[in-house]
């Protein structure tokens, strides 16, 4: 049965047709009927199940309020460019499941993109008590309230327990030194000395996001609290970059290709050619459990290993918010309030597999019925929000050549340039990017 409850199942063919039409023709413009709102969200978990569940919630809300919610899926493959277009005046829904508030707010200004809803904030009187504080940062910008965080992406460490046991290791790596030990023990080579299984990948294929927690674990911060001054020319940068560089070249446990677009850590992990991922995106464990029963009992999660300053875990959030240009703010706020009720947040968390920013949801049975979910809960205690107080942040950490963090990583780790000089150059570039927004 659907985690969204006992609601009518629509034929898969209808959903598939709708998805096809949506992806072919683009998303529809807002409806003209006053009692209708258009709502977009990215898909999570099983696509058809997700869409069916969201439609069911929309039907329930219509029954309760009389407002019809036209729900449309915005596929991840086009999500970023779509939100970028929305922030520049492109066709937008009335409200949506959004992310990267700081950048899109800065781009849209007071014309387009996310709309502050400060006057409605009192509809959630216990926000600070019910939600993790880190997640609330992702729905606030420059002191304004933009909506309700509903999903988190907290990133623990993931490793192959069967391979660790084969190597005579028990328990999870606790420190950076342990990471080296585990990765070395689980790296395998053929008779010619070629690596057939890499011991570790720092994180997912989005390599800049993979780097960030190591920098935090070494005690670094990227910028001052006002978002105006870059603060990466420090020992933490040198420690984090040197650590990953050594994993690649000295210990030879991380593929020298890990920064190339063709490298896919998730596929490598599934294929058994990668034993450990230092910072694992929140969607992976659920997908692994759902789609790879053959690996049951062969993998586990752990709180990220500790660097010199802590065990910080990368964390991001998505939020339900309202878009500028809509004339249906109140209807949207009502819909968001409906979605943010404890029971619906529970349904959303279960359906998506994403951790919930609501404390009561994370305390539920669902988030403690397997070992890996318990670890996700433990990792929340170490979460460090990935949002930063500058609209330039998303450009700074873009995962392709040309962004400050990517280039810094590539020069220091792959090209083995002098780390100190690389960091100094990156500091200057980052400062120029931060100045770009304000000067």
């Amino acid at each position: 049965m659907s985690v969204f409850g006992r609601l009518p199942r629509r034929p898969a063919r209808t959903v598939a047709s709708a998805l096809l039409i949506t992806s072919t023709l683009g998303l529809a413009a807002a409806p003209v009927n006053a009692d209708e709102i258009t709502f977009w969200s990215q898909p999570y978990g099983d696509l058809l199940e997700w869409k069916r569940g969201m439609n069911a919630l929309a039907d329930a809300y219509e029954e309760q309020s009389g407002t019809k919610v036209n729900y449309e899926v915005l596929n991840w493959s086009v999500a970023f460019n779509t939100w970028l277009t929305v922030a520049q005046g492109g066709a937008a829904p009335d409200c949506a499941d959004m992310y990267w508030l700081h950048s899109f707010s800065a781009i849209g200004g007071d014309q387009y993109g996310p709309l502050p809803i400060n006057e409605y904030k009192d509809q959630w009187p216990d926000l600070d008590k019910n939600f993790y504080s880190g997640s609330l940062q992702d729905s606030h910008y420059r002191g304004d309230f933009y909506g309700i965080p509903w999903r988190g992406d907290v990133r623990p460490l993931m490793y192959r327990t069967d391979l660790a046991q084969e190597a005579g290791l028990s328990g999870a790596p606790q420190t950076w030194d342990d990471l080296v030990t585990y990765a070395k023990a689980m790296t395998a080579r053929d008779d010619n000395g070629n690596v057939t299984r890499w011991g570790m990948s720092p994180g997912s294929e989005i390599v800049t996001q993979a780097y960030i927690p190591y920098y935090w674990q070494a005690g670094g911060v990227f910028m001052t609290e006002d978002g105006k001054t870059a603060t990466i020319d420090n020992d933490a940068s040198i420690a984090a970059l040197s650590f990953i560089r050594d994993l690649v070249w000295e210990h030879e446990v991380v593929s020298p290709e890990f920064m190339e677009k063709s490298y896919d850590p998730e596929s490598e992990f599934l294929a058994g050619t990668l034993a450990m991922v230092g910072s694992t995106p929140g969607a992976w464990p659920g997908r692994l459990q759902r789609e790879n029963p053959d690996l049951d009992g062969k993998w586990a999660l752990a709180v990220p290993a500790a660097g010199s300053a802590g065990r910080d875990a990368y964390a991001g959030s998505g939020y339900f918010g309202v878009l500028r240009g809509t004339e249906k703010v109140e209807q949207c706020v009502g819909w968001i309030k409906f979605l943010s009720s404890p029971e619906n947040m529970q349904k959303l968390s279960e359906a998506s597999g994403n951790v919930s920013p609501r404390r009561d949801v994370m305390a539920s049975d669902f988030w403690s019925d397997t070992d890996w979910k318990k670890v996700v809960g433990e990792t929340l205690e170490h979460q460090h929000t990935s949002q930063h107080p500058s609209p330039a942040w998303s450009a700074l950490i873009n995962d392709e050549p040309g962004s400050v963090v990517y280039d810094m990583m590539y020069e220091a780790i792959i090209q083995k340039q002098d780390v100190k000089e690389v960091v100094q150059r990156a500091q200057a570039r980052m400062q120029a990017e931060l100045d770009r927004v304000s000067k």
């Binding site: 677009k261 450009a395 050549p401």
Partner: protein, 301 residues
């Protein structure tokens, strides 16, 4: 009567002309306009879009990454065009000849055409991934190599040419070849068979028939084909972007990918527009020759 015919012709061409203007010409002009403004998405809110003259062009043309992308674009396009035409001439002869199983061969040659470039890029990314490549596995099993070839990530270069560049070039050739073959085949089938019969009677060898009959009569078609391939090659995006994102170390980065990265990664639509402006100028020059060749052919006819 003549006037009615003319109106009918204009009516027939109007829909496609309208689409071309709305979806092609206007966005292109808008993009050119942006290339002369400061159009930084992170600054538009506070600083607007002031006119900056050719500053964006200067920035882009002095960016080592862009210069590298220009060189890569020209190199990859040159390789693709040369190889695809050479192979196209050969395979068109194969498709034109009469033998048992010709239909099957035709289908096989045309098959890559049915695969959209985006899908082709995704498939070949897997085929060429270092650790999971079936090609590497086959070569290893055959004892030809003793370590995996890094098709998409080897940074060693010889005269600026690397294995990733050759890999991407090969996929573009694979994906573009059927179009060229069909194009040339159409030309071959327009050559009267009597000319070959006359050549045979005069004792011309197969090579001489190809050299003195086929090639001269295909020349107009090959000219058009060359220009079309150059135009599409200069602006090519998807295979390079999906397979390597321009890496490693910018070795497969092309101008269109550079423009995309400026716009959507760095939010610099002004630099992206300037890079696109350079693409426009290069393709514009090629188009000039294309249109001139078309007009000349029309006059000759």
């Amino acid at each position: 009567m003549e006037r009615k015919k003319l109106i009918f012709c204009y009516l027939m061409v109007a829909p496609s002309l309208l689409f071309t203007v709305v979806l092609g010409i206007l966005p292109m002009l808008a993009s050119l306009g942006i290339s002369f403004l400061e159009y930084d998405l992170l600054r538009v809110r506070d600083f607007g879009t002031p006119f900056v003259g050719v500053d964006n062009y200067i920035t882009v043309l002095t960016d080592a990454r862009f210069i590298q992308s220009v060189w890569n674009t020209l190199l990859i396009t040159g390789l693709v065009v040369a190889i695809v035409i050479a192979l196209g001439l050969l395979l068109a002869q194969v498709m034109d000849a009469e033998y048992r199983g010709r239909a099957l061969i035709r289908v096989l040659i045309c098959a890559p055409w049915f695969v959209p470039p985006v899908v082709a890029a995704a498939i070949w990314s897997w085929m060429l991934s270092t650790s999971r490549s079936p090609l590497n596995a086959a070569l290893m099993d055959a004892g030809i190599i003793d370590s995996n070839i890094r098709f998409l990530s080897d940074t060693e270069t010889i005269w600026g040419i690397s294995i990733p560049l050759l890999s991407v070039t090969a996929v573009r050739i694979w994906n573009g070849l059927p179009f060229v073959v069909i194009f040339i085949l159409a030309g071959l089938q327009s050559i009267p068979k009597s000319l070959y019969e006359a050549g045979s009677i005069d004792g011309a060898s197969v090579w001489n028939q190809f050299r003195f009959i086929t090639l001269p009569l295909l020349k107009p078609i090959l000219g058009v084909l060359l220009l079309l391939l150059l135009i599409t090659g200069i602006g090519h995006f998807e295979i390079n972007y999906i397979m390597t994102g321009g890496g490693p170390q910018g070795q497969t980065n092309v101008m269109a990918v550079y423009a995309y990265q400026q716009a959507f990664n760095s939010f610099r639509f002004d630099y992206a527009a300037a890079a696109s402006g350079v693409i426009f100028v290069i393709t514009g020059i090629i188009c000039f020759f294309y249109i001139r060749a078309q007009l000349k052919d029309g006059d000759d006819a």
